[in-house]
């Protein structure tokens, strides 16, 4: 009777090529993965691995010449419609760069509502601020009057005000201090629980991705090396040589013939 729901995100054979004159760079090559509804899926890789480009291709911010992208079972065309954009919202790395410096928090949150012609803006803004743990008193502040953590909360509030089902997160905590990062990660975990959001989380930091996500994809040079459940990653059960190298490097510095200070043997 009840059908299994289609995956929230389906990417099949995705290619992204950046071309300038006769030169071209393939940033993403033949990438395929699925993310179930309500799942948190992480993409890890080093600079130039194409991890952010995948998110941008899904959001329609870069053209994808080959491959299919489906959201909730629906195929997306080359351009995102307003309805598509309402379903998925983006949070960027640097909240200072992604917020308009001369717009107040209220104006920033009003913009998506105006674009999508949603009334009752005022109560929605209050609600969005409450949801991300900001006081209503911050409404009339400008970005430079907020701390880094507060700014990132505003960026998250702006993404959530349209009640999307999918959140695209591109290194949302990389510009933040450890203690502020903890607050933002806890916030994302809570919002995901409360609203059964699907998260696509891109980061260079394996520990951060492992904290939030159930499954993790490892990318290098535009290709998917491996997708594995977080428990297997934590146990170091990886079949790919590069994934192993990345995992080892993330655990800290090791002198030759010395075990890691933060490894299971010494704990």
């Amino acid at each position: 009777m009840s059908q299994t729901p289609p995956p929230e995100v389906e990417v099949a054979g995705l290619d992204v090529v950046f071309a300038s004159g006769r030169r071209s760079v393939t940033a993403v090559r033949d990438l395929s993965f699925e993310v179930a509804r309500g799942e948190a899926f992480g993409i890890v890789g080093e600079s130039g691995s194409g991890k952010s480009t995948v998110l941008k291709a899904i959001a329609g911010l870069v053209p994808a010449p080959a491959g299919a992208i489906r959201i909730g079972g629906r195929s997306l065309g080359p351009k995102r419609s307003a309805a598509d954009r309402k379903l998925m919202q983006f949070v960027f790395q640097d909240p200072y760069g992604s917020l308009h410096p001369r717009h107040t928090v209220e104006q920033t949150l009003q913009e998506p509502l105006a674009i999508h012609r949603i009334a009752k803006g005022d109560s929605l803004i209050s609600q969005a601020l409450r949801d991300v743990g900001l006081s209503d008193a911050l409404r009339y502040r400008f970005p430079h009057e907020l701390s880094g953590g507060q700014r990132q909360r505003v960026a998250i509030a702006r993404a959530l005000i349209l009640s999307p089902s999918l959140l695209l997160l591109d290194e949302p905590t990389s510009a933040l201090d450890v203690s502020v990062q903890a607050e933002i990660l806890n916030l994302l975990a809570r919002l995901r629980r409360e609203r059964s959001l699907t998260l696509l989380f891109v980061s260079h930091d394996l520990a951060v991705v492992a904290h939030l996500c159930e499954r993790i994809a490892i990318m290098r040079h535009g290709e998917l090396r491996e997708v594995l459940p977080v428990e297997r990653l934590r146990r170091g059960e990886t079949s790919d040589a590069y994934s192993r190298e990345l995992l080892r490097a993330s655990l800290g510095f090791a002198r030759a013939g010395e075990s890691l200070a933060f490894s299971p043997e010494t704990r």
Binding site: E46, S47, D177, V178, S179, Q181, A182, E183, L185, N186, A189, H204, D205, L206, A207, V208, A210, H211, V230, L233, R234, E245, L246, L247, A249, S250, L251, G252, F253, A254, R255, L260, A261, F262, S263, P264, R267
Partner: protein, 279 residues
Amino acid sequence: MSEAPLLEVEGLDVLYRGRGGEHRAVRDVSFTLGRERLGIVGESGSGKSTTGRALLGLIPPPAIVTARQLKFQGQDLTQLSPRAWQALRGRRMSMVMQDPRYSLNPVLTIGRQIMETYRLHHRAGAAEAKRRALEMLEAVRIRDPETVFAQYPHQLSGGMGQRAMIAMMLVGEPDLLVADEPTSALDVTVQNDVLRILDDLVTRRGMGLIFISHNLTVVSSFCDRVLVMYGGRVVEQCDAKALHEARHPYTRALIAAAPDLQRPRAELAVVHRDPAWLA
């Protein structure tokens, strides 16, 4: 016991005075450094970078730097003239910054920049300086020193640029190197290569290294000792290996707030700041 410490710091204060009042960026910081790897960890605004810069006399007025004692190899640094600082910096003490893209001169080749540093402190001809520069590039494990020597900073990757920076800082053969987040702009797999180079310099040449970082995992696995800074002061000093047994509530909170690959937690601890830490 052993030889005198390389660096003795006692009661270091850095004060910024502005129209809005004064701000003590560094408060009463004291430590000694031998030929070892000393880590300084803390969050932004903790005063860790300011401490590093103050040690090299790189805090310009109107900021006021005072210390009860600031001695480098027995020499009193508080009374140094700008000229004497010039002779010291780049020769006996050096600093590596976070991002090679901003700290290298974009319009000079790597080779010229390294040669310039060398000839500033040594009476040497161009041929001698070039030989030394190539040696240094080799010492930081650049596979093809001749090529990199002739390249401009924008032609290098982040990891290569950082190696070139370290080569430049080391050409004067300093006894003290202050490295301010030297690996934070690098990919993790490259990060460890750069750490290995720094590690070699401490063990082989007996250099003293001050390693400033926000990354607890890197500091605890790389350094010998760690200072934890908060609000301009050192709240804890401990063995790097024992960092996860730290006692100060701030250090403990910081460790609990960092996601850990091997010890998953349902929720990360939030740092509740106690005003008493600043008292």
